[in-house]
Symmetry: C2
Subunit: 395 residues, 2 copies
Amino acid sequence: MISLEQNILRGIKQVLGNSKEFTALHEPEFTGNEWNIVKDCLDSTFVSSVGKYVDRFELVLAEYTGARYAVAVVNGTAALHIALLLAGVRTGDEVLIPALSFVATANAVAYCGAVPHFVDSDWSTLGINVPSLGEHLQQSSQVEDGNLINRFTGRRIAAIVPMHTYGHPVDMSSLLDLANTYNLPLVEDAAESLGSTYKGQHTGTLGLLGTLSFNGNKVITTGGGGAILTNDDKLARQAKHLTTTAKRPHRWEFFHDEVAWNYRLPNLNAALGCAQMESLPEFLRLKRQLAHRYREVFEGINGVEFVDEPINSQSNYWLNTLRLNEPSSQLRDLVLAVANSAGYQCRPTWTLLNKLPMYADCPRSQLTVAERLEASLINVPSSAALARNCYKSDA
Amino acid sequence: MISLEQNILRGIKQVLGNSKEFTALHEPEFTGNEWNIVKDCLDSTFVSSVGKYVDRFELVLAEYTGARYAVAVVNGTAALHIALLLAGVRTGDEVLIPALSFVATANAVAYCGAVPHFVDSDWSTLGINVPSLGEHLQQSSQVEDGNLINRFTGRRIAAIVPMHTYGHPVDMSSLLDLANTYNLPLVEDAAESLGSTYKGQHTGTLGLLGTLSFNGNKVITTGGGGAILTNDDKLARQAKHLTTTAKRPHRWEFFHDEVAWNYRLPNLNAALGCAQMESLPEFLRLKRQLAHRYREVFEGINGVEFVDEPINSQSNYWLNTLRLNEPSSQLRDLVLAVANSAGYQCRPTWTLLNKLPMYADCPRSQLTVAERLEASLINVPSSAALARNCYKSDA
């Protein structure tokens, strides 16, 4: 009998064809107007802090996501940092974030002088486990003077940050209910979910603020880049102000009115983003097709399943993901070794954030499901371009 | 008799010719290999966190400046933030910086949780006034357990940050002596001084660490970008680690071992930087020629002088600067109004940092000279390209 790891490799090959070279986990594609727009940007000499492409990119992002405002910044981490500050996170606060996330989610909390408070994930959505969070808050927190206080640390809990893992939307209706119950602002880390919707609304637009990332491995890229989304006029103005050194407009004077950041996206990167946004619908179509093919193939393989988009949701399928039926980090590593050696770049999910040395002492709920997911999830090659061949290799 | 402001405008016109349109303060120029290299970068699809141009740009910067290591980052502010952390600046410390600087110098200190401690400037170099700083430290600080303590605040003074204003090097020999006396690490803010040397050594390489900026208004640009310079192996490794989320190298695992930042320069921006570095010697030659012309013309105008490079130094003349003999913010604003209305973009120096609301309560020495400079300095158009015409317009 063939081993599960060999069976999984066979499945990957069935989807992607026999890789003669290396198949990357996720590669960007510049087959649209990228050259033309970037060249126009260079020719204009406006490549930096001033230029039409930043404005245009922000308008396109707002229009696409349905957010009233988008503020382009230098990367997704910077976006989350500022969004948390704008949500009122202050030194000494705690912020509820999933233990299963990229380190940037926790780092952005730390930049505010606040402490991550880790919560469990859901086996199906891979995002915050809302019932578990509800129970945890009931057992471990209390309201004092209108603030939610962690009874064990005495610190204020200032916000909740759902992260839409690999593009799969969190169960937002339940989470919004819970956030309302506790009067907690909700900041969506939508770094991975450009193009993903929950009940028809774009991820990142359901909370007070949301953030996007356009790193090189994302659905679209600006080299490095991110954005803050919000429907609130005042927060949008503050986001722009805080990310551009808080300089008061003046013909020549330098007057800055608060401690602020140099987080604006250069016009050169925004130009690339404008071109990439033109291709986004096609990328999403292809990625959906690739996901469909993975689902189809892995339905026939016992012991592992394809992570499908949650109900009420449309996922961008940023990273296609397999989930072992029986969590086992040993088996997971075996699959990774076999697949990577065969030239298919696969990776595990992130080490749970509470296991990293700098966050080891942070408060947390029980993390039973996150622990199981950590030992089960495997990302498989997901570039949009791979869909172009995936039905040819079925022979 | 013609007024001084009209006389100054006449001088600017004599240098630059009769501007039919708008002459910007400083514009980038992409007349070299910019497009070829950026296109190659796009064609490779490596535009983001991985790619050959980041490595190449770092090597070119190290070679050019003579630093053993250069670590490319997302902008000059980020570079200074990390350099200060690496110099040992911690929450609650004070850092000595000139009150006459761009706000980023103070912000980088604030990001570390530390407090800027403002010091006076020198009338001639526009940088830190070393004798004044020496006196100030003698009067207001004392050594306790090997640390320099501010006697009035009780806080540790952790570092000195000289900033080479408009490209003019600080009197580094004296400052290094003073830093040694007090055992203070010296972090050079060389954001404005790529191409400037002090006694033959490139600015940013004389202290423990130095930082550069490649913002759109600088001598060369990467859209947005910066770099950390150091001769220290360990600090260079730490700089790379801290600016790339502190991820331990592994084939697939995500393990980050400290709170760190997403500050790496995207490969796309590094590609632009590689091309710009090829043009740097020519830019510096042209800028020197333009400075020479300003000097020549303003020698003949009473009441104002051209700010020349300090002794022992070669300046990049990033921004050519006029200095009113008699400080007067009223007269300065009159000159700015007249020149800007005539289409020559001119600007004052920065509002002294101790006058900004968020830094108003920070410790400081007397700032007599900085106050006088604030009311005297006027930056005039300085793009390298302007030199190509400046001797033609002499008729």
